[in-house]
């Protein structure tokens, strides 16, 4: 817990300079963290980093425009901040970043799957981290889980575990998990035929409840309360409970993020019914990286769909 103490010290050091420090605290059960907004030393004492600090605090930054805030960021969170900065959605001088070497975060769906018949996550009364293992207590018994088995997918391919922009960096930088994104997740998906993929979306989207948690959890969604999903002017969607409309919303969200999505995965994590909505954005990110050699949040400059070049050597246009 050295890291936690060091981060708390860094937070306390910056508290006097900022309106608040955004980080993580504990959630309603031992497996869940929650965003924490710290304004006092007491608040800072409740700061909890680590495996359960999953939320992307960059999400909240645009709300604090005009005020100076500090934010504790994982590598992926820093990417979101980077993208917000490059789009001018937040101001660099208003944000102070505290980085640290992220060791990866939990994927709750994986925990639930790993527990299986042993019980539900909500029955877990205690969690201990022992090296590479998580020791859970539930129904009076202990269950050991391999951390690697319940780590989020994005962490398994993480190239940027150390916040690439940080005003304060706590701890030693760690080696990245991967050197490039091989989009292996897409390859798995693409083993399906086109028909199977369409059937896949049909099935997955049919349980969407249109709560728009995916959208609201997205740190780069700019529209916020003015989303076209619920407007009549323009009216892109009906309010019918149809797979078509629900899938179309995912397409809207994904295309609005094309060249902007940093792959933080909050959309998918936020989905209460576990629809793999990140896939569409990953597909677009792959296209954008291939076509424009652009990685959102990392590469500087205008997002590729908001600019152009006279010649596009990577775009093969229709010869006819």
């Amino acid at each position: 817990m050295g890291m936690q103490k060091e981060l708390q010290a860094a937070i306390k050091a910056i508290l006097p300079e900022v309106d608040c420090v955004i980080g993580w605290g504990s959630g309603p059960d031992p497996l869940h963290g929650a965003p924490l907004f710290m304004r006092s030393e007491d608040d800072a004492n409740r700061f909890a980093s680590g495996f359960f600090a999953v939320n992307n605090p960059a999400l909240f930054l645009p709300e604090y425009k005009g005020k100076k805030v500090a934010v504790v960021v994982k590598g992926c969170d820093a990417r979101s901040v980077g993208q917000l900065l490059s789009e001018g959605l937040i101001k660099r001088e208003e944000v102070s970043l505290i980085g640290f070497p992220c060791q990866g975060v939990v994927d709750h769906d994986k925990v639930a799957a790993a527990l299986g018949e042993k019980g539900e996550m909500g029955e877990v009364t205690a969690v201990l981290e022992e090296g590479d293992a998580l020791v859970l207590t539930l129904r009076g018994e202990t269950v050991r889980l391999n951390k690697a088995d319940v780590t989020a997918e994005k962490c398994m391919r993480c190239q940027y575990p150390n916040a690439h922009i940080a005003d304060t960096f706590v701890g030693e930088k760690r080696e990245p998990v991967a050197t490039a994104d091989d989009f292996a997740d897409l390859a798995v998906f693409e083993a399906m035929s086109l028909e199977e993929r369409q059937a896949f979306w049909e099935k997955e989207m049919s349980r969407c409840i249109r709560c728009y948690a995916c959208r609201n959890a997205c740190p780069l969604c700019v529209c916020r309360d003015h989303c076209v999903a619920t407007s009549r002017d323009p009216s892109w969607l009906t309010q019918a409970d149809s797979v078509k409309d629900k899938l179309f919303f995912q397409v809207i969200h994904a295309t609005h993020l094309a060249g902007r999505c940093t792959g933080c995965g909050e959309c998918q994590r936020a989905c209460p019914v576990g629809i793999p909505v990140l896939l569409l954005k990953r597909s677009l990110a792959r296209s954008v990286e291939k076509l424009f050699a652009y990685r959102a949040g990392i590469d500087e400059g205008t997002p590729p769909l908001l600019t152009f070049t006279l010649e596009e050597p990577t775009i093969k246009e229709r010869s006819w």
Binding site: V222, D233, P234, T302
Partner: protein
């Protein structure tokens, strides 16, 4: 809404392959349609009256005409519905001629398609709104960029029409390429004799402000009210004091300066008046050649100047002004012919450009009009002209014809004979292009009367032999036979290219340019001097290479457009522009980032950043609309909902 639908037979043009009556019947079931009929010629006088009568009789609030392309008759029908008291934008067209009857053979399929196109038009019309132009005052001043013959013509025509004119010329004198020419084809009249008086007119015209040795620094604003900043480059001579007496140029000790006006045919002084007829006739110092600047001491001109006009401390000066219209007349440059290794790539002094030859021929040129070849000053006897140097050559990326070289080469061959009666001219050519009034007769005369020998073929090599140059080519009319000509002087008919800095100027003016840097006209046929940026017009070779008559004609044409534009006190804006729903705008700025016209600005609305469209700048492309994620920017008449309605008319229910 009460919509009327009119299905036009266009005689048999549509009626022949579309069952117009059944389309009209089907249309009656479409949403909000309260009246539908078919008509023989909707655009005819009775056809239009029928629409007007129906609007009044059935109290229609919108009209769909299914007929030809809206690119043809949309304005016609808009005027018709307006005459009936509707807003002109409460009208839609379905193109069932060009897009249906003329391209489809199956009458059933055509009829079905026509009905669907009407359905789309109806669906869109239901969401149309009255649109109204805004009017705004204009600045009755024209900026003409470039003081060649096209720019001079445009400036004089505008000034004569009573407009204020600002003429900006990059060089220290106006006159452009024409002022360098000795004679002009096909009349062989003296270039400076016809241009000179016009240049003087410019200088003396009370409505014209001339900035020579100046360039356009920046342009903002929009049609009717552009904000222009001009950079007056330092000439180190106070032109208010300079009388153009020329004493300084006589006494200047630095005599090895490159003579830009004379195309480097001879050296000149560091302080110059470019040529005797220069307008303005003012001296300017070439900084790189001036000893005061290069060595830090000299000051001869300053000492000798009777009016004390020399000012070594002079700085560039920025002048800002407002203008209502802009004429770009920036002309052309010769391409860099030294890419041609086979012509010696510039190594042989006696291989010169056509423009250099003009200076050798000119009585006011460095040789006083005596043709002397550069290497030894001897009068050449055998002169070889090579055409299409840097024209029609795909291998160096110059596939276009420069248009004027055939004619000036013929002229130069004639002048050669006039200057040196015992000379012989040889012309290597690809094709002779002479499609102008009296042009073909001219190229015939040079061969028949002046004995110039025309050889159809390309030159593959020039090499020196003694004090001569051997020009090796083929004669394709002689079966590809190799021809070697012993030349005293070789004149290259070097093609033109858009003048240096054209793309940069185009960007400042927000007009398009082609891959060679020539500015794009609004329409190749119907808008030859307009651009797609309202209020910016083109004249002369900046739009594409052309000869003097065409340049002058364009100068007048551009002037006519500018005069027409500024003849009104107020201009009406096109209302089919983007609009921001302030309630929905989140101020993310993406629309501002992509707008090609800088037509959207950030505004502060009660502490919140919002986008605002500058109505008179917006051109209505809709890029912002497609960019705004929350759809807060909508292009009037092409809103998301309107396009979605068309899509849904085809793809939903």
């Amino acid at each position: 809404m009460r919509i009327g639908v009119f299905i036009c037979h266009c005689g048999s043009n549509i009626g022949g392959t579309v069952d117009c009556k059944s389309v009209a019947e089907e249309s009656y079931a479409f949403p909000d349609v309260v009246f539908s009929t078919d008509t023989m010629y909707a655009c005819s006088e009775p056809g239009q009256q029928g629409i007007i009568d129906a609007i009044k009789e059935h109290n229609l609030s919108g009209v769909v005409v299914a007929s030809c392309t809206p690119r043809m008759h949309e304005p016609t029908f808009r005027r018709a519905v307006e005459r009936a008291g509707l807003n002109r934008y409460m009208f839609e067209m379905a193109n069932i001629r060009e897009h249906v009857s003329w391209i489809g053979k199956n009458k059933d399929a055509n009829t079905n398609k026509a009905a669907e196109l009407v359905r789309m038009a109806v669906s869109k019309l239901r969401l149309n709104r009255d649109l109204h132009s805004k009017s705004f005052p204009v600045t009755k001043r024209v900026l003409v960029i470039g003081g060649g013959v096209a720019g001079i013509q445009a400036a004089l025509d505008c000034a004569d029409a009573g407009l204020d004119v600002v003429l900006v010329e990059r060089e220290p004198s106006i006159g452009g390429k024409m002022s360098k020419l000795d004679k002009t084809f096909p009349t062989v009249d003296c270039s400076s004799c016809i241009l000179g008086p016009r240049m003087v007119d410019v200088a003396q015209h009370p409505n014209i402000t001339l900035y020579a040795a100046a360039e356009v620094e920046s342009v903002s604003g929009y049609v009717g009210n552009f904000e222009v900043t001009v950079r007056k480059k330092a000439t180190y001579v106070d032109w208010d004091k300079c009388t153009g007496c020329g004493l300084c140029t006589e006494k200047c000790p630095s005599k090895k300066s490159f003579d830009r006006f004379n195309e480097g045919v001879g050296p000149t002084t560091a302080i110059i008046i470019p040529f005797p007829q220069a307008i303005p006739k003012k001296a300017s110092i070439t900084r790189d050649a001036c000893r005061q600047f290069t060595k830090g001491k000299c000051g001869v001109c300053a000492k000798i100047c009777p009016t004390g006009a020399i000012n070594y401390e002079q700085q560039d000066e920025l002048v800002s002004m407002k203008v209502g219209g802009i004429v770009a007349a920036t002309g052309y440059d010769l391409m860099d012919w030294t890419v041609y290794e086979e012509y010696g790539a510039g190594r042989y002094p006696d291989v010169i450009t056509s423009l250099q030859y003009e200076r050798l021929l000119s009585a006011s040129g460095p040789t006083g009009g005596h043709v002397k070849r550069p290497s030894d000053g001897k009068e050449p006897k055998n002169v070889v002209f090579i055409q299409c140097v840097g024209s029609r050559d795909v291998s160096i990326g110059r596939p276009y014809c420069s248009g004027f070289c055939c004619m000036y080469t013929a002229k130069q061959a004639i002048l050669t004979k006039d200057h040196i009666p015992d000379s012989q001219s040889f012309v290597f050519y690809m094709d002779i292009r002479s499609p102008g009034k009296g042009y073909d007769e001219f190229t015939r005369r040079v061969q028949e009367e002046y004995g110039a020998q025309y050889i159809r073929g390309r030159v593959s090599l020039i090499y020196p032999k003694g004090d001569k140059l051997i020009v090796r080519g083929v004669d394709t009319l002689m079966g590809g036979q190799q021809v070697d000509v012993e030349a005293d002087l070789v004149v290259l008919a070097v093609g033109g290219e858009a003048t240096q800095g054209s793309p940069q100027l185009a960007e400042k003016l927000r007009i398009s340019y082609d891959s060679y840097g020539f500015f794009m006209e609004g329409h190749p046929k119907l808008k030859p001097v307009e651009t797609n940026t309202a209020g910016v017009f083109l004249a002369g070779s900046c739009q594409g290479l052309k000869d003097i008559p065409s340049s002058v004609a364009q100068g007048s044409a551009a002037a006519a457009k500018a005069i027409g534009l500024l003849s009104k006190d107020m201009l009406a804006s096109d209302p089919q522009i983007a609009q921001v729903d302030m309630k929905r705008c989140v101020g993310c700025g993406k629309c501002i980032q992509v707008c090609p016209f800088k037509a959207i600005k950030e505004v502060d609305v009660r502490g919140q950043i919002k986008a605002e469209v500058i109505e008179t700048v917006c051109q209505g492309c809709g890029l912002c609309n497609a960019t705004c994620p929350q759809g807060a920017v909508q292009l009037s008449h092409f809103t998301d909902n309107q396009i979605l309605a068309e899509v849904e008319a085809l793809c939903r229910f």
